[in-house]
């Protein structure tokens, strides 16, 4: 099992009521596997990550795609589309 640090930002942090958490994932898990696990919690996680709403995932501070692997000890951030500038 791999331990990963999850971070939530902006509106997602507010609706989840959570800044960060630590999860253990099976070796070889991809971003999509992590998202499926969070969606299975139901509630706001299912609403935000399991439907038509758009969100972004960064693995070790690089934008990631659903099939990207999550290395052991990774920092994984989940956040809404960005609105800077």
């Amino acid at each position: 099992m791999n331990t990963v640090q999850l971070l939530y930002f902006a509106r997602l942090r507010d609706v989840f009521g959570l800044h960060s958490e630590t999860l253990t994932l099976p070796e070889g898990s991809a971003v999509a596997d992590l998202i499926a696990r969070l969606v299975a919690r139901g509630g706001a996680f299912a609403d935000e990550l399991g439907g038509a709403r758009v969100f972004r995932v960064a693995v070790n501070q690089e934008m990631a795609r659903p099939d990207d692997p999550i290395p052991a000890g990774a920092e994984v951030a989940i956040f809404p589309p960005v609105t800077g500038g």
Binding site: L7, F9, A10, R11, D14, V54, A58, Q61, E62, M63, A77, F79, P80, P81, V82, T83, G84, G85
Partner: protein, 157 residues
């Protein structure tokens, strides 16, 4: 190699000082373009009293450095400065500064627009605006994604 300066923080910036630092001790920059983004007092018909800028410390600086480096790889830039503020900002305050310097103006203009278009779609900043009573997160705009798309090759997916 272009000299790239990236700064993210709560402090305001001074355009004149940043420009002077950008061109100090060098004469190969024949053209410098400056973009300053400011807080408007109206957005989507709502009066904005405070605009709160949140970011992802660490990733933000990396993303901005990557965008500036991509611009420098695409155009013959001599120097780039990107300053982005975070925290609570009020109408008429400055949010973002992009300076691009090159031997000639076209590269400086195009690279400046490229950096802003990518910053708005790739750099992890989020705006929350408040009218003084209620606060709401600002939604990403389709027009920003479209503005970034114009820099992609025509055969990109």
């Amino acid at each position: 190699m272009a000299r790239i300066t990236i700064r993210v923080g709560p402090d305001d910036f001074d355009l004149g000082r940043e420009y002077a630092a950008l061109v100090a001790d060098e004469a190969d920059s024949g053209a410098v373009v400056a973009f300053v983004g400011r807080v408007r007092d109206l957005n989507l018909a709502q009066h904005v009293a405070v605009l709160e800028l949140e970011h992802y410390p660490g990733m933000t600086e990396k993303a901005l450095a990557r965008i500036a480096a991509d611009a420098a790889a695409r155009w013959p830039l001599t120097a780039v400065t990107v300053v982005h503020r975070v925290g609570p900002l009020h109408p008429a305050e400055q949010i973002v500064l992009v300076l691009t310097a090159s031997a000639h103006r076209h590269a400086a203009y195009d690279a400046n627009a490229f950096i802003m278009d990518y910053l708005k779609t790739e750099a992890p900043f989020w705006k929350r605006e408040s009218d003084g009573n209620t606060a709401r997160w600002v939604d990403a705009r389709d027009s920003d994604a479209e503005a970034m798309q114009r820099w992609l090759p025509d055969d990109a997916p």
